[in-house]
Amino acid sequence: MINSRFFNRSELLGFLALAVLLLVILPLSLDIFRLNLVAKYLTYAFVGIGLVLCWGYGGILSLGQGVFFGLGGYCMAMYLKLEASSVANTKIQSTPGIPDFMDWNQLTSLPFFWKPFHSFPITLLAILLVPAFFALIIGAAMFKRRVGGVYFAIITQAIAAILTILIVGQQGYTGGINGITDLRTLHGWDIRTDHAKFILYFVEVVLLFGCIVAAQFIRLTKLGRILVAMREQEDRVRFSGYSVANFKIFAFCAAAVFAAIGGAMFTLEVGFMSPSFVGIVPSIEMVIYTAVGGRMSIFGAVWGALLVNFAKTSLSESFPQLWLFGLGALFIAVVLAFPNGLSGIWADHVQPRIDRLLASRKSKSAAGMIADGAPAE
């Protein structure tokens, strides 16, 4: 029977390979500096997983994932900033006990929407719920009215632009273009030390695997199949008795929550949050990572985020001028020749050989099937 197992064989191999790489090989072989870089790359993998669900499976291309990444990141940053702005730490300010940038902007008390972020549980809830709520509003407004495809992409892009201008413009409340910086401790635990970075890395990897499993679960339920069905024949789904809009809203909200978790982890790993992760350019870059990894593959998205960012760091260290040429060309190549990205190449060219080598007579893997199907549009 199809789909009777949670992971099929190649997916299980992919999962194990990733687990060995992230949990054993990288921590053993990299110094803490490089490991922290990997942790930074992996925060984009969260966004990628969400994009696979909503773009690869649901056919909804959002160019505004930076909004959710940013919302999650800002929620976390607000909590950390409040902790760093204790009265003792800020006694040279004219109003001690509020974040430094508020003091510079003549605020004399904490704005109301900052107050809940004194509490860690509320912060955790906010990281998940604020972006989900935001996505729900956007999604409900757009999908109920059947705004889709290109229009959805452009409107999400506009929303990313609006949020950036707002954050930059309201610097007394948001820290402006500098963002929220100088974050120090989480519940009294100094997150800047090497030791903390090491632990945070593992926390993040575990969360990432949690998200992979959650995404895989969604993919394997009937909802996952409806998403695929919807991408191809939206009307047929509608005339099979489903509210297409509700399913799209769900996929969009799920993607938003994944992105927000990534954003919150980003704040913890990097130690600050700024509007430069909210805008259009980072949002499109997140789509690029996903496309390069393979928009149809959850693991592909993780690999895409890792490899593109790794290439970015190493190429920009040695050939800063060439980096943008390389990225642009890579991207065009992926779109033109390999619409399913690295995972498509793997499924089309590498996996069959392995299968032949193993002389396996099993039926085609699910990943291979998807790669054979029509591209997303």
Partner: protein, 251 residues
């Protein structure tokens, strides 16, 4: 408004239905009634508005004015999925199946359970589902292809699959848009056999050009012309209607 008819008497009561696209009235003040277990065929020349009528009933196109009552429920105010849930099934002219899914999955999606977001997340593929899917697959001659991805089916098989997807919905009113178009002769015969089987125990609204096929199945025929009813009645009656002859032969 409906003199002499209680809407309850009919399964489907279309009255005064009008839709205009930029001033062009594709369907103009159309009224007709379908009874329980009736098989109604709509015929008419190209551009007569046949497909538009089905689009209007299933909610794909919104009516400019008029009403569509299904078991006394006003359909023009419902969304497509609500219309389906009310018991109206629709097959499109070109086969629309989910090519990236297997035959089994195609049928399973149409199974009328777990149609909400939460329902689909918790949907279990239990024995009832499997049984029903296999049952329908057998009817549509695809029993041995359950694990085949739909993009590998032939054109005729896709048509069958789509009919099967409707069948598993078990609608009270089944609307078919040229179900035998584009089929080979042998497929056509098989399809006719299939249709004859599935139209039992429910009302059916069919658009078809194949007159032989129409004669075989139709209880009543409605002839559309320029968005309006030209003639309605038994096949015999319609065939001999001078207006129909005029329109069909006058061209």
């Amino acid at each position: 408004m409906l003199v002499g008819h209680q809407p309850k008497d009919f399964l489907l009561a279309v009255s005064g239905l009008t839709v205009s696209f930029d001033g062009f009235k594709a369907v103009n003040d159309l009224s007709f009634y379908v009874e329980e277990n009736e098989i109604r065929v709509i015929i008419g020349p190209n551009g007569a508005g046949k497909t538009t009528v089905l689009d209007l009933i299933c909610g794909k196109t919104r009516a400019t004015s008029g009403s569509i009552q299904f078991r006394g429920q006003e359909l023009t105010k419902l969304r497509e999925n609500e219309i389906v849930q009310a018991g109206v099934g629709r097959k499109f002219q070109t086969p629309s199946v989910f090519e990236d899914l297997t035959v089994f999955e195609n049928l399973e999606i149409s199974f009328p359970r777990g149609r909400t977001v939460f329902g689909s997340l918790t949907f279990q593929r239990d024995d009832t589902v499997k049984q029903r899917v296999e049952e329908v697959a057998e009817m549509i001659f695809l029993k041995d292809r359950l694990n085949t991805y739909a993009d590998q089916l032939s054109h005729g098989q896709k048509q069958w699959l789509e009919i099967g997807m409707l069948l598993i919905q078990d609608p009270d009113l089944l609307m078919l848009d040229e179900p035998v178009a584009g089929m080979s002769v042998s497929e056509r015969a098989k399809t006719a056999e299939l249709l004859n089987r599935i139209i039992k125990d429910r009302s059916v609204l069919v658009i078809e050009h194949d007159m032989k096929f129409v004669e075989d199945i139709a209880h009543k025929v409605t002839v559309l012309h320029q968005g309006q009813i030209l003639s309605e009645g038994t096949m015999e009656h319609v065939k001999n209607d001078p207006k129909v002859i005029e329109v069909y032969l006058g061209h």
